[in-house]
């Protein structure tokens, strides 16, 4: 995942072209996500997977082109905080959904 944050230009605060590239990518990804839902061309679970993948890619695009995350030594602590937080949130989300689903099954509330 960290490979995608590599900045080919090396600009730490972005340029007009990098903002425009990021913006165009974001617009395409958003439009495709809306299009997949509107067109009903995939099965419900296929649609859900597709928009989840598109959202993940778009978050990476925003992190790279708009928040200028990179691998520079300057950013080491930023990245460390970021990956700790992402790990924390993943545990929070998966743990909550697993435990609450399991509880609901045993209490037959659904």
């Amino acid at each position: 995942m960290s490979d995608l944050h590599t900045s080919p230009s090396g600009e730490s605060h972005g340029s007009v072209s990098s903002y425009i590239i990021g913006f165009v990518l974001a617009v395409i990804l958003t439009a495709v996500a809306f299009g997949v839902v509107v067109s009903h061309s995939l099965s419900p679970s296929g649609t859900l997977t597709a928009i989840a993948v598109l959202a993940f890619v778009q978050v990476l695009v925003h992190l790279h082109y708009f928040l200028h995350m990179g691998n520079g030594s300057e950013q080491r602590w930023n990245n460390m905080c970021f990956f700790f937080t992402v790990g924390f949130v993943v545990i929070l989300l998966i743990g909550t959904m697993f435990i609450m689903n399991n509880t609901a099954l045993h209490m037959m509330s659904r």
């Binding site: 600009e11 340029s15 419900p44 691998n71 924390f88 949130v89 909550t96």
Partner: protein
């Protein structure tokens, strides 16, 4: 994926030393990320608890959602242009781009409030079902953040008016707001995907 990542930063950023203020703000954003993570977890648990009330499929409108998303996305790039102007020390351009960003953000908040008022009027307020409680908590927390961002933009515009150059202190404030604004856009990506689009399938 090639691992040619370590060589690129040696030369260019000796002039750009990140301020501890910006790092501190980054840490704040990470805690904010945990708040939104918790609210998304709540929504994920309660998303099918309708209690006989309306579901997301019946409530959400794709056209309004598309417009809100477009406004926020365009406001991201206009703020980016403002930051580029700030690095070139062109204050009038910075104020112009911040003004455009403010109007786009204001449009977003207006649309969202309109949507909320419409839902509450139809009897689908936050007190109707667990699904709607979770929905209003998550989406309005994001809206509240955007509103704070708008107040922040106005504050910085007022502070920059009449000055001729951007001191480092102001640059730090602009950089923090830039992180905040783009971070809110990332949260919105998750909101429109997992809250709105996933309910409309």
């Amino acid at each position: 994926m090639a691992h040619d990542t370590t060589v690129q930063t040696a030369g260019h950023d000796e002039h750009h030393h990140e301020s501890p203020v910006v790092f501190g703000f980054w840490v704040y954003l990470m805690t904010d990320c945990i708040i939104f993570g918790s609210l998304f977890a709540v929504f994920a648990v309660l998303r099918n608890q309708f209690n006989g009330g309306p579901s997301g499929h019946e409530l959400f409108e794709l056209s309004g959602l598309g417009l809100e998303t477009a406004l926020l996305l365009v406001s991201s790039i206009t703020y980016g242009f403002g930051m580029i102007a700030a690095h070139k020390n062109e204050i009038s351009k910075v104020i112009m781009w911040l003004g455009v960003t403010f109007l786009l953000g204001l449009g977003f908040v207006g649309l969202e409030l309109n949507e909320f008022a419409h839902m509450i009027h139809e009897g689908a307020g936050p007190d109707r079902s667990a699904f709607l409680s979770a929905f209003f908590t998550l989406v309005s927390t994001h809206g509240l953040h955007v509103t704070c961002g708008l107040i922040w933009i106005v504050t910085l515009i007022v502070q920059m008016m009449g000055t001729t150059e951007i001191p480092e202190r102001m640059m730090n404030k602009l950089t923090c707001l830039s992180l905040f604004w783009h971070f809110l856009d990332i949260v919105w990506i998750c909101v429109f995907t997992y809250v709105y689009l996933a309910s409309m399938i």
